[in-house]
């Protein structure tokens, strides 16, 4: 959370000649980060990001305390000024105004204090109070309310003021709400409270405070107020946080309470408040101080071994310097042995400092990280090898050079999308608290995302791919299976183009043992979105790993795509397991090949693969067979004959050719194309 602090206010508590720029720089380097420094007239405003572990820095005084330890390290003298708290709190013995307090569970409220003022004159605050509040981003209201806001900024202790006469029965009961109780808060919002919310009820059963977050408007101070109940507490931070989350409502006060407010600081705040009430409101104390503090925290001690300091920080810091740093931050030394010391933790750091490493951080940050050298860690034998990434890069780069554009889309799909592609939402991993309807289900396939992208960019013929995890529901108590998947989309081409991409990728991965089969299932995801026959299943080592095919027209229409879409979709994680790099050297042939084209007339329903297989198996001298031309049922094959031992003669080739023609004729009724036709 960010806070705003005025330089002039800061310097009321920190005597130093440091400039605002110096303060911003050194505070950032050693403690909390100054995000912004703005000049306002002849003052400066620091915007400071306070980390969650440092609620003690949520105030002007807290920052001044930090700087008093930091600035001297940069040779800038700085001295923290004591707070003006020489105040008697229990001066009234007679005619004390009554207040009965009941706390239902002491863990809810570690410390409860209250004090009543009489003779209040409501008017605007003194100019300096108004100005400081407004420059720090809080609206000035009146002299009473402003005191609580002013001291929250100055000391980090939120507090609340009630009109004492609006608390019926002079009674406060602090309890947890139940059964949907309601409160109208100062901002005039009526809020239904989740069960277990900390509230205060008065003697007439009215809820007058939403503890630690905001007061009720039924008891607020207004221009007619004469008597004020000042109320300073600390609360169970977890409770406050839960309530704020459930109500989706936070205030400056709750942000401080939920990070933990120091109960030892409560009386300091009370004393400062009394001073201000007397000065700004002409008020008189009209009650005994009520201070319910059943379990003050015990003194906290932490041991520190000097060897560990060096091990963590990496250099040796002289012992005296370590002690000086710790003392400047408020730690006191209890025992001091050669290599081991024990210190007590100052009360304002009670929850933050527990183990030696916490002390080491204090020493290192004040010593200054910029004084530490930069070293690289030693190289280690880590006994791990990960090939995944190598193949991933290889395939992605190949695709890029083949003209494909890589896309990255969100892993989540909408319910509407599941409907279009025919996936049952019950089968998907679902986000319980989605950000929008667009992103609810974790995708089980990359194909819908690619189709969306094709639809969005439909002005051009596109070639795109994505490589990402898909998420398969594995049922109760099990994390879903995340499978790295490669999906490629081509629009406006044909089956052979996408198949060629598949074949080339297999070549790049050194995988030869793959097989395409007809894919007959109609009710699967693939079955529903792919053309019922223009598709083939990819099988490798008897596992079905993916599909190549054309998307159904109906699906295209749903996405608003007119072009034919061809997709190749495969489980990339399985491919990586069998990908190979080893290539074999073969001596170059010494004798020239003979190459010729033969055209055949092919009867229907004969797979080209079969023809090629028959041609190849005719003779070992046939080195390769390629399909070069297709015209109606005529197909032309280019045959390369080559013998490793000798130059082939016409006669030899003639013999093989005859065998090819005969066996095609015999096995498949395929005829050599007759030139007469």
């Amino acid at each position: 959370m960010n806070i705003f602090i005025l330089d002039s206010w800061l310097k009321e508590y920190l005597k130093t000649k440091a400039s605002a720029k110096e303060i911003a720089k050194y505070l950032s380097l050693c403690s909390q980060s100054v995000e912004k420094l703005t000049q306002i007239n002849n003052d400066w405003l620091y915007e400071i990001e306070i980390t969650t572990n440092r609620p003690d820095c949520f105030s002007v005084y807290g920052i001044a305390r930090e700087l008093s330890a930091i600035l001297p390290r940069f040779d800038i003298p700085a001295k923290l000024q004591p707070l003006d708290i020489n105040q008697q709190l229990t001066t009234i013995n007679k005619n004390s105004l009554p207040l009965e307090v009941k706390i239902n569970k002491s863990s809810l409220c570690p410390r409860f204090t209250a004090l009543i003022f009489d003779n209040i004159v409501i008017k605007p605050s003194p100019k300096i109070v108004q100005e400081r509040l407004e420059k720090s981003g809080i609206r000035a209201i009146n002299n009473v309310v402003d005191i609580s806001n002013y001291l929250m900024l100055e000391l980090g202790q939120p507090m609340h003021t009630f009109d004492y006469d609006k608390i019926k029965g002079n009674k406060m009961i602090l309890r947890e709400s139940q059964g949907g109780e309601k409160i109208t808060t100062l901002d005039e919002q009526t809020r239904t409270l989740p069960d277990g919310t900390m509230i205060i009820e008065d003697g007439k059963g009215r809820i007058i405070d939403l503890c630690g977050i905001m007061g009720g408007n039924n008891s607020q101070v207004d221009e007619k107020t004469k008597r004020v109940l000042l109320f300073i507490q600390t609360y169970d931070p977890v409770k406050i946080r839960q309530t704020c989350q459930k109500l989706a409502f936070r205030t400056d006060a709750s942000s401080r309470f939920e990070k933990g407010v120091d109960p030892e600081g409560v009386l300091t705040a009370m004393k400062r408040a009394v001073k201000m009430f007397e000065k700004n409101c002409e008020a008189k104390i009209a009650s005994q101080l009520i201070d319910i503090y059943p379990k003050p925290p015990k003194e906290k001690k932490v041991n520190l071994n000097f060897e560990l300091i060096e091990k963590v920080i990496g250099i040796e810091i002289p012992k005296q310097q370590v002690l000086t740093i710790l003392q400047s931050l408020g730690f006191s030394l209890i025992t001091n042995h050669q290599l081991l010391i024990t210190v007590t933790v100052p009360h304002w750091r009670y929850n933050d400092i527990s183990i030696p490493h916490d002390l080491i951080e204090e020493i290192a940050r004040i010593y200054g990280y910029e004084h530490l050298p930069n070293n690289l860690p030693p190289i280690a034998n880590i006994n791990q090898k990960n090939n995944y990434f190598k193949w991933e890069i290889k395939v992605k780069e190949a695709l890029k050079f083949w003209g494909f554009i890589e896309t990255i889309s969100y892993s989540m799909l909408s319910g509407q999308m599941l409907k279009i592609i025919g996936v049952n939402p019950e089968d998907c991993i679902k986000i319980a608290n989605p950000l929008s309807e667009e992103w609810v289900y974790m995708r089980q396939s990359l194909i819908p995302s690619l189709l969306e992208i094709a639809a969005k960019n439909k002005k051009e013929k596109i070639k795109i791919f994505e490589m990402a995890n898909i998420y398969l529901n594995m049922g109760k108590n099990q994390l879903p299976q995340e499978i790295l998947t490669l999906s490629i989309l081509i629009s406006g081409e044909n089956f052979a183009t996408i198949k060629g991409i598949f074949e080339s990728i297999m070549e790049e991965l050194g995988i030869k043992e793959y097989k395409l089969n007809t894919y007959t299932l109609q009710k699967t995801f693939y079955g529903k979105i792919f053309h019922p026959s223009h598709r083939a299943e990819i099988n490798i080592q008897k596992k079905s790993l993916g599909i190549i095919g054309e998307i159904k027209k109906e699906i295209n229409r749903q996405f608003g795509i007119e072009e034919k879409i061809f997709i190749f979709d495969i489980d990339f994680s399985e491919l990586v397991k069998i990908a190979k790099e080893d290539k074999k050297y073969q001596p170059l042939p010494k004798y020239p090949p003979i190459i010729e084209d033969l055209s055949f007339t092919i009867p229907p329903k004969i797979y080209i693969e079969e023809i090629i297989k028959i041609i190849k198996s005719t003779s070992l001298t046939i080195k390769s067979v390629d399909l070069t031309d297709v015209y109606q049922d005529n197909k032309t094959f280019r045959i390369t004959y080559q013998d490793r031992q000798k130059t082939l003669t016409d006669k030899e080739v003639q013999k093989i050719r005859k065998n090819v023609i005969d066996s095609l004729q015999e096995k498949l009724k395929v005829k050599l194309k007759d030139k007469k036709d």
Binding site: S33, P237, I313, H357, E361, Y369, P373, A380, I382
Partner: protein
Amino acid sequence: MNQEFLQNLKNQAISTIIETKSEDELEQLRIEYLGRNGKITQLIKDIPTLSEEKRKIMGGLINENKKIIEDALVSQKNNLQRQSGNQEKDWFDFTVPGIKPKIGNLHLISLTIKEISEIFARIGFNKVSYPEIEWDWYSFEGLNMPQNHPARDEWETFFIENLSHPKYGNAVLTPHTSSGQLREMEKVKKTLSTDRQVPIRMLNIGKCYRRQIDASHAPMFYQFEGLVIDRDINITHLKGTLDYFVKQYFGLKRETRIRPFHFQFTEPSFEIDVTCIVCGGKGCSVCKEGWMELGGAGMVHPNVLENGGIDSLKYRGFAFGWGVERLLMMKYKIDDIRLLFNNDLRFLKQF
């Protein structure tokens, strides 16, 4: 005379034509096949001697093959002329637009991940990846962030409906790659016997998810997480590693600084700044007094080491987890993260 003979004759002619090295040689071949007494010419002369049926078939075929051989001669002649020198005086237009192969594009995130991985590989880091959908234990609890801890607020987390584990808690979409820290420790422990060292040099890169969307936050984004664990690891190694990375990625002129910060899973914790790439460190509107925030880091908290089964008295480590998009947006001056996931091809084609 038959078809086979003709086919062989043609094959022979073509292969010898392609082999020729000079126009003289080529002329010899022309005479050999198409000259007055050439082999093809001879066949044509013989046509009238064939039977009527054969005449029809062979007539067509011979002419077809004659044409093929003629074409081959012409095209080889052109080739030879192109190859031979003595063309200094030819006017040549080198400004003709080149014919480029059609090349696609890798996504900027992929390019960046590759670059990051290579930079860290050079100092011995091993790239891994861990689940995106993860148990609460790995994403929070085991990283020293118990339920209801205010530090959890920083991670606007997506929860998975109806999925939890009796020991590891609810399933979430991991909001950071730090969830890989405990996974890596467990993996390394499994592969080594207890008395041996457990050096870790991990670079975990993956998708993370948070419930936020605006110009600098997308609900899905990438992080890279470094984790180094060994006997003698200290803050100077963290400083050195991150300074090395920044100089490799942004350029040798960049300076880095580390500032105290707070994370539950590291102690001490830091944030790393780099001198502003816009103003070079003088201070401008996009930076903080000359510095830009890169990301968090810290020394692995002893509780986290113990949760990962590693003896925190013997071992120490450091970790950092930074946003991939943040880095590339700084480097390429991209002002809206959502552009990276919109898949507008006009954007993707720029990289």
